[in-house]
Amino acid sequence: MNNEDRELIAELKKEGQKDLAFQSLVKKYQERLYWHIRKMVLNHDDTDDILQNTFIKVWKNVGNFREESGLYTWLYRIATNEAITFLNSKKRRNLMSLNDENDYLKDNLISDPYFEGDKIQLKLQEAILRLPDKQRIVFNMKYFDEIKYEDMSKILETSVGALKASYHHAAKKIEEFLKNSDL
């Protein structure tokens, strides 16, 4: 963990400085966490809700953060879990199968006023959202954010080998989907 984050954590654990330090933390990490969540749930409004819940969880639990991992790793893990919980609750509430979930996410993406992609990008997103949750997370983190497998391993608490395999399968599936689409 870098010194700046270490100081931030120390201030967050002091009752008198907590609010101010928390504001700094939000300013520093809000964008990165937003895009990480957005790639998982696609829709802006859902992302906004999840991001707020993520930071509220951080605020509540920062006293228990044992600094075994980096601050960003910890934040990423909370955001990932919040997004997965959101998707699962949505599935349960609407009794969705995998296909229904894909359709839901696709409709969500198309109807989102803040989606500005062209036809090719829409196809790529469609291919990505057809992946199982775990593969989708791994693919997004590797392909778009270029996060190292070692860092990803700490965030997702999965072995590097398993992550490499997930990315490999995801890339092949997307390629197959793109080949079958007239692009």
Binding site: Q30, E31, Y34, Q52, I56, Y114, I120, Q125, E175, L183
Partner: protein
């Protein structure tokens, strides 16, 4: 770079695509986010009771029950005890019973030690010894002629 080469091998079409996010956010979203989060957090803080309050809230029913019990004792027992001490002392004496009153045999057994107790148990039962004259005297003094007739008839 190594990852890119690998991607070209397994997914050539994908590797040629632009790595751009097709997503956008509302204007000033990140500028306003902190303020909106602050409002939500303040609401959460109001909902969340403090740890100390939570303990008091959990103990509230038990404390209430204990206080009620104490109040009843104060209102009933204490005035009676203060103003009418004789009634309470009479009742207490009347209700006190000793073990000897309840069961005299139990009281005797409890008083003897273990060795004596087992010695009594191991003693051979003594055969009653009496002669015919004593028997006749006992029967004639305790039974009527009719009872003697009935017994001998059976």
């Amino acid at each position: 770079m190594e990852d890119m080469n690998e991607l070209e091998k397994i997914a050539p079409k994908l590797s040629k695509m632009k790595k751009e996010h097709p997503f956008d956010v509302p204007n000033h979203y990140f500028d306003d986010f902190s303020a909106r989060l602050h409002t939500k957090l303040e609401a959460e803080k109001r909902v969340l009771p403090k740890q100390k309050n939570r303990i008091i809230r959990l103990l509230k029913p038990a404390i209430g029950l204990a206080a009620s019990f104490l109040l009843v004792v104060m209102l009933v027992y204490w005035p009676i005890n203060s103003f009418l001490p004789n009634i309470l002392s009479k009742n207490t004496t009347a209700e006190t019973t000793t073990i000897e009153d309840e069961d005299p045999y139990r009281a005797i057994i409890e008083r003897i030690d273990a060795i004596t107790f087992f010695a009594i148990l191991e003693e051979p039962a003594q055969e009653p010894s009496f002669d015919d004259e004593e028997l006749m005297n006992y029967i004639s003094s305790n039974m009527s002629e009719y009872e003697i007739f009935l017994e001998t008839d059976q």
